[in-house]
Symmetry: C2
Subunit: 256 residues, 2 copies
């Protein structure tokens, strides 16, 4: 008796040429039929951006053996939408995004193209997950991340994700055998202390690079940052309804 294999979309924000997406394909390939649609250039920090004032291009990509793949000129969220509404014409059984080169813990979910692709999947009602390895190196060691991704994807296909959520998975930068386990977490209350590196171009005009330090004053041991700093992979369930319900009654007391 044959069973229909799940249809799984794969995307990322580092671009189709990154080691991270190749690692994710390795993790997810045993579980279903893949459609890879990934940006043709790095899209880090693109958050939930979509391309509304420009055209989008799609080109077949032949370098993933036995896997249907396309490069996209747009953002990670564009990739998810193009997969569903143009290339495949149907919703997949799973959207997987990553594996990002660099962690996406805490408030970084908002800035992260990797996680925004997963959030877009959730908005479409599809079980979705973003994976990030806490290592920015283009040639990072993804062995531990592949192991964790395999376990999470297997669980997602066996269980029903709570409605209107997706998963944010972060993997620490330690050897695969040293990862102590997986913890379900909340996002740490941590923020960027930004600064700008001001430089002068060859014409004497100033330009700026965004830089900064990520600062965590959240001492909770139930946070994603605590987990990856203590040898665990973290999973945070993420919702896309940003209404601050607890604030509605207080605002109703204002005399606007």
């Amino acid at each position: 008796m044959s069973v229909k294999r799940p249809l799984i979309f794969v995307t990322n924000d580092d671009g189709i040429f990154s080691k991270g997406i190749l690692s994710l394909i390795e993790a997810v390939k045993p579980f279903g039929d893949l459609l890879v649609i990934a940006p043709d250039k790095p899209q880090s920090g693109m958050g939930h951006a979509i391309t509304v004032n420009n055209i989008l291009r799609l080109y077949p990509y032949m370098l993933f053996e036995g896997v249907k793949a396309f490069t996209c000129s747009g953002t990670p969220v564009d990739c998810v939408k193009l997969g569903m509404y143009e290339l495949q014409g149907q919703k997949p059984d799973l959207v997987v995004s990553g594996i990002n080169h660099g962690e996406n813990t805490s408030t970084n979910v908002l800035y992260s193209g990797t996680m925004s692709a997963a959030v877009e999947g959730a908005i479409e009602g599809v079980p979705s997950v973003g994976f990030s390895l806490a290592d920015f190196d283009a040639n990072a060691d993804f062995e531990g991340a592949i192991n964790i991704a395999t376990r999470v994807i297997k669980s997602m296909l066996e269980n029903k994700l709570p409605a209107d959520t997706c998963l944010n998975v972060n993997i620490p930068k330690i050897p695969a055998n040293d990862i102590k386990g997986i913890k379900i977490c909340r996002a740490a209350r941590a923020f960027w202390d930004d600064s700008f590196d001001k430089r002068i171009d060859q014409y004497g005009n100033p330009y700026y690079w965004l830089t900064g330090e990520f600062e965590n004053n959240d001492k909770g041991e139930d946070t994603d940052l605590w987990a990856i700093e203590n040898g665990y992979a973290s999973i945070v369930p993420i919702q896309f309804d940003m209404t601050a319900y607890h604030a509605v009654s207080e605002l109703n007391s204002w005399n606007i």
Copy 2:
């Protein structure tokens, strides 16, 4: 006796040349000293994107009489960060964003550059608000929106916003005198039914425009969409912690 005037940052996502930001400046100018930092080109749909792989440029903009203003080559969130960490070197008393040409109700908060600037203000601990008029016309009538913005800004300076929230204000496309009032709302559970307009370029190659219909199946009369469809301005309090707390216990029952 002199009282220190509030420092107010103004930004938007339609660009510094739009009628919407000029209207917002008109509304907010009586309340404080302004610093305007707005994109030098339209940035609609940029969500919470930040510029990490490219440089940023800032140029003084002289066309707002008596108001210190700069154009920025980046996104609305870049504008907020540049104001705090480079131009002013301090946090303002208020961040105002808009007035957007087009509504930003429901899940559109995620895609909206206007609202992401306000969310960034909230992340920085500054009372912040985004305004959107449900009219895409470049020459839309902003009179009603200016009235509403004036009332909301006055209230924000008189009251303390609940911690870690900002406000999403939408104004209906009706004459100023017909606006029935202001309602505190939750975000409607409504979604884009996307499609792509596939066209062929002069070389015979396909390209795509993102398009679609916004579909609301949420019958609640406490939503932002209900409000603006029924003649009210809507205010939704927005939070930036996307953790789905209610899902943590369920995920802990999975055998990952």
